[in-house]
């Protein structure tokens, strides 16, 4: 396996596999969060299930964290190797003549998304770990002991316009990252599907719908808390 990851194609395949997993996770994440727009109760129920189910917490969550860390570490490894391969830079280079901004700047959109994930971890994930595994409160209830805390915490987080602004910018960059990454992952896996018109359209739709969904959720709770 280490030999496979030492080859240029092996690394790209590994990037694509982790990307597929992360893209699948985004669909699940959005599906859960979108319920907060129309049913706080359903959002609370789903959040409690995801936050306390042993299979999700002990099996899927570690895989997800590994996937995120792997994708970023490998992204940086590839970037460093590519920079070394370039050597002297051109005095004049017209990249826009033959490729999209998104495809040439995956590292920029990727770093913004990474910064966002760190903020997101500080906002939601670390407090969750603190409540559940440090304080040992797995009830998911508010201090009144009557109702779930998830929806209220979500609304509270989106009060700050600065945080909402940061989320919106990060989601736009996520969209640009996905606009190239979705079909690129198929190509790296050797699948011709990524080059077909249908898959390109699905990729475009995915890269717009997923970030837009998260942006709508952030704005909705900002203006309706």
């Amino acid at each position: 396996m280490s030999g496979f990851l030492k080859s240029s194609i092996g690394r790209k395949v590994a990037m694509a596999l982790s990307a597929f997993f992360l893209m699948f996770f985004l669909i699940i994440h959005l599906a859960v969060n979108i319920t907060s727009l129309f049913s706080p109760d359903l959002f609370n129920e789903l959040s409690h299930f995801m936050g306390t189910n042993p299979l999700v917490q002990l099996a899927l969550q570690p895989v997800l964290i590994f996937g995120v860390v792997f994708h970023f570490v490998m992204g940086f490894v590839l970037e460093l190797k590519n920079r070394k391969a370039i050597g002297v830079k051109y005095a004049q280079n017209n990249g826009a003549a033959n490729s999209t901004w998104m495809s040439r700047n995956m590292i920029i959109s990727g770093v913004v998304v990474l910064a966002f994930i760190l903020l997101h971890f500080i906002d939601f994930w670390i407090p969750e770990l603190n409540v559940k595994y440090i304080h040992g409160d797995m009830s998911g209830l508010l201090p009144d002991g009557e109702s779930y805390r998830y929806f209220e915490e979500l609304q509270h987080k989106f009060v700050s316009p600065i945080r909402v602004g940061a989320y919106v910018i990060a989601f736009v960059l996520l969209g640009l990252h996905l606009a190239h990454g979705f079909t690129s992952a198929f190509q790296s896996m050797g699948a011709t599907a990524g080059r077909k018109k249908t898959m390109q359209q699905i990729g475009k739709a995915y890269s717009v719908i997923i970030p837009l969904g998260f942006i709508i959720i952030a704005l909705f709770h900002h203006f309706n808390h």
């Binding site: 395949v13 391969a85 002297v88 830079k89 190239h180 079909t183 080059r195």
Partner: protein, 248 residues
């Protein structure tokens, strides 16, 4: 037309190198880019200066020798042509044209606009061939049934002239379009199957050893390739590599 040329001059592989400005006058729009370079060099020789070194051979777009990064694009602003096929009618009177060598760590500059592309040769030697017994009773290749579709696709891949525009264009200096084409031209044909596993593994290994970058699938190589080699060849190489890895 009268032009200003900004050209990379570098005495040898160890020299630092810099962009130098030149003026050329009365250039016909019917000239090829290399003929314009010939005019410049005649001018330089007549004034006792060192002519600009650049690669060229057939001047018919077949040999893959000519290169040049012109105004920020490999083989210049035209599509589907090598620099020798690029005509001066693509430029306007009074234009300033920037001319640089291919840039990649694996393509070091030898002199001025000439780069060392022997890394491509070493990749080919690592597996870009089929072993055929030529003891006197060699089977006629045309006797082997091959579908029209596979033959056409293999021929498309085989039209790669190894000029290196893909590497020069790639933001990562990746050679995957070149290697993908060389792997594909055999992967599509029955003659290539016997050595398929070793071929892709050895060629990819050599490509990495030479210090080429990784593919980001920007598609720039396909656009700038003078022979229109498709990105599909990179996907095929990736499939061949995965197949070979699983087979071991």
């Amino acid at each position: 037309m009268n032009l200003t040329l900004k050209i990379w001059r570098q005495k040898d592989s160890n020299a630092k190198g810099q962009m130098v400005d030149y003026k050329v006058t009365d250039i016909s729009e019917h000239m090829s880019f290399l003929e314009m370079m010939d005019v410049l060099n005649e001018q330089l020789v007549n004034t006792g200066e060192e002519p600009v070194a650049f690669d060229h051979d057939c001047r018919e777009g077949i040999c893959g020798m000519c290169s040049l990064y012109i105004n920020g694009e490999a083989h210049g602003p035209d599509r589907g042509v090598t620099t020798c096929q690029l005509h001066m009618r693509m430029f306007k009177d009074g234009d300033t044209i920037t001319i640089e060598p291919w840039r990649a760590a694996a393509f070091p500059v030898i002199k001025d606009l000439v780069v060392d592309r022997t890394s491509f040769e070493r990749i080919q030697q690592a597996g870009g061939y089929i072993s055929v017994n030529t003891s006197g009773n060699t089977q006629d290749a045309n006797a082997i049934p091959i579908s029209k579709h596979a033959a056409d696709e293999a021929m498309d891949a085989a039209t790669c002239i190894g000029c290196g525009a893909c590497v020069a264009t790639c933001k990562n200096s990746s050679a995957m379009l070149f290697v993908g084409a060389k792997v594909s031209q055999y992967a599509l044909l029955p003659q290539g199957q016997v050595e398929a596993t070793d071929r892709v593994m050895n060629m990819v290994k050599q490509m990495d050893l030479e210090g080429f970058g990784n593919c980001t699938n920007t598609g720039a190589c396909e656009i700038e390739c003078p022979k229109g080699i498709s990105l599909e060849n990179i996907a095929r190489m990736n499939r061949e590599f995965l197949k070979a890895t699983i087979k071991g």
